[in-house]
């Protein structure tokens, strides 16, 4: 929990030497409490005070970075339970399991699949974030061989090494020293040795507990050796994961309970890839920071990437689409040309119905400050002059042969005024509701 200004003041040298730029130690303490200053600005502060302050000012869920370079991903650091309160901070990392029982050729295929998983969605590059190398064989040399295969084929790819053997861990971590790998599998029997191996390789340590109680105990012991920790409470069924993930998030954020203030890893692997996908939905929506999948299907990645993108968008950003003329399908110069507002749901629904009609179209989206058609019209944001100006300035006249604009049925009243302002254009009144578009467009085709 964050300290108050007075509590911080007690930890400072109390000499009022002003080297920090503040007139007094108390003033500096107040700045620190408001997070407007950094403890490093006081040259005389003791190491002990620094540590106490560091602990107290740390975010409730520790941030951890997996990997280095262009593919590095940051997890943790969440601040709320519900996305409508505030944007979820760091999207969960999606990882795919690679068993060390696989042949080199088969493992190579999974690695290639992960590297090729990147999809461009609404301007964001989405992909599988990490490989989970699993010591299913129980043989240290097999895990090491898999690790070096991954390191040579995909040197940029963040990895999670999974084993309960400290020796196997050491060998497998070797190719990833300094690359922010994760070592998974520290339990009550091997904790110290595993923590040491993680520390030596500058890796994070993931705890494999059998309950939240045990997870809290293990993080308290491990943190002295390696501060970057990740937790698996042992939950495997979807209902158990919801319970444990929820308790962890609440304990960390609402109670400031430090022993559980770490990112959570969920295992959603199921024999049935469709079931695996819906179980992963629980982990994406309810608080996992790393998700381990058994399958790597393209349709599955697409669905989960899209869900993650939806859940992690900023709820405060107004629901708007950029003003532009969008193409649906591959419209020729005579294709129908429609206009609507930039309220993103209006856009989603209209473009969805146009797509549904299978008639290629151009769809003009006018900036109406995120209002739907009727409200925008009532508020003077969707007027004849704005529409006319947008059409003229868009340069669309050069692109099309039919100067005909289809307007939403709700603003039929505008058609005369637009015709007056857009010389040579014919204005056609379309259906009032978007679900009338397919029939409307098909009847014209």
């Amino acid at each position: 929990m964050a300290l108050t200004g007075v509590e911080i003041f007690k930890l400072l040298p109390k000499t009022n030497c002003k080297k920090c730029g503040q007139p007094t130690c108390l003033a500096f303490a107040m700045k620190l409490a408001q997070r407007q200053a950094s403890i490093d600005q006081c040259p005389d502060v003791s190491e002990e005070a620094k540590q106490k302050l560091g602990e107290a000012s740390a975010p409730p869920i520790r941030p951890i970075t997996l990997g280095t370079g262009a593919r590095a991903v940051k997890i943790g650091e969440e601040t709320v339970l519900f996305r409508h309160e505030k944007k979820f901070v760091n999207p969960c990392a999606i990882s795919v399991k690679i068993s060390d029982n696989l042949s080199q050729a088969d493992a190579g295929k999974v690695i290639a699949g992960i590297m090729e998983s990147e999809i461009d969605r609404v301007g964001q590059k989405l992909r599988v974030d990490a490989a989970f190398l699993s010591n299913d064989s129980g043989d240290a040399s097999k895990l090491a061989a898999l690790a070096s295969l991954v390191a040579s084929k995909a040197p940029e790819l963040p990895v999670i090494i999974s084993t309960t053997s400290p020796d196997a861990a050491e060998a497998a971590l070797k190719p990833f020293a300094g690359k922010n790998a994760v070592l998974y599998g520290a339990n009550k029997d091997n904790l110290e040795a595993m923590a040491q191996k993680a520390k030596d390789a500058k890796a994070a340590l993931a705890i494999a507990a059998s309950s939240l109680d045990e997870a809290a105990e293990l993080t308290e012991k491990a943190k002295a050796i390696v501060p970057d920790l990740i937790m698996d409470s042992g939950a495997r069924k979807a209902g158990e994961m919801l319970r444990d993930n929820t308790y962890v998030r609440r304990a960390a954020i609402k109670k400031g309970f430090k022993p559980l203030g770490y990112p959570v890893i969920n295992f959603v692997g199921r024999g049935d890839s469709m079931l695996e996908t819906v179980v992963a939905v629980l982990s994406v929506t309810k608080y996992a920071s790393i998700i381990v999948l058994d399958h790597l299907e393209k349709w599955q990645s697409l669905a989960l990437f899209s869900l993650r993108q939806n859940i992690y968008t900023d709820p405060q950003v107004p629901m708007q689409v950029q003003q532009n003329i969008y193409k649906v399908g591959d419209p020729g110069p005579k294709a129908p040309f429609l206009i609507t507002t930039n309220f993103s749901l209006t856009y989603f629904i209209v473009s969805g119905e146009v797509e549904n009609s299978k008639v290629p179209c151009r769809l003009a989206v006018l900036d109406s400050e995120g209002l739907s058609v009727l409200t925008a019209w009532a508020a003077g944001k969707f007027t004849a002059s704005k529409i006319a100006q947008f059409i003229k300035e868009s340069g669309i006249e050069a692109e099309i042969e039919n100067k005909e604009l289809i307007i939403p049925g709700y603003v039929a009243i505008l058609s005369g005024a637009i015709e007056d302002k857009l010389e040579g254009w014919k204005i056609t009144v379309g259906p009032r509701e978007a679900n009338g578009l397919p029939a409307f467009l098909k009847s014209r085709a």
Partner: protein
Amino acid sequence: MSFAPPKETWSGKTFEITIGNGAKAVKIGGENVFSFHGFEGNYPNRPVIAYEVQDIPPDDWPQMVKDVYAGVSADPVTWAKHCVEKLGAKAIALRLAGTHPDKGDISADQAAETVKKVSSAVDVPLIILGSNHAEKDSVVLVKAAEAAKGTNALLGKAQEANYKTIVAAALANDLKLIAMSELDINLSKQLNILITQMGFDKERLVTDPMSSALSYGLEYTYSVMERIKLAALAQNDAVLQGPMLADVGMYVWKVKETQALEADLPQWGNLKDRGVAWEAVTTTSLLVAGTNLAIMRHPDAVAAVEKFIAEMEG
């Protein structure tokens, strides 16, 4: 260090609503915690998935869903019986799509006939839906409600533009009612108030905050649902304590991801699984957000969601 689980219990709870009659009637709602949070409170009724059936053949559904119902979808009674007897549907959502002026403009009387036939052919609860054409629905649903008198069906959707006649019809025929607004907790609240002011019991009302598909506004539905559930539980806001409906299939099966061929977009993977996953993922996330009753189309997607629900309980 011993850890005390930070349980959260609330003063509010949602109304438990029964739909249908007899042995196969279903109950939804009644919880005093968030979805699937039986570990800290009362979560008496698992969410219910209803199969969507239409009064007209599903010509505008994607081929892969049409194929599933080939041979039964020409007739709503055969289609509904297939869903109940072969697919194990726990409820049927009969959408009177053909009453839409652009889709055949079937008369209210004819739609009422269909309602009668379907409701007497199946023993599971019925959800009766209009075509989402506000004006036409206000006529069609009145007749449909008369035809469903005594079945304890769920009638919808009443919207701001047409709620008066529909509410009166649900009242007169002893039906449960769906109130739908567009993705805004305040609009939902306002409409529910208007409806209860007509003398309709809030304990018979289901809230539909409007669904959306994965990647097409899902996050809005997701958050509006969480906010409504929070208002019901934490603020004990009785107007928002009705169970929630997610009408998923109609939104999912028209987006590009459920239609585009793999040959055209190889990086999206095979269409069959992609389509099923789109519906299953959309529904699952809305169940987590607070949905008590979902309407779906593809049996494989329903099966995946049912397995998920079983895992959440077990």
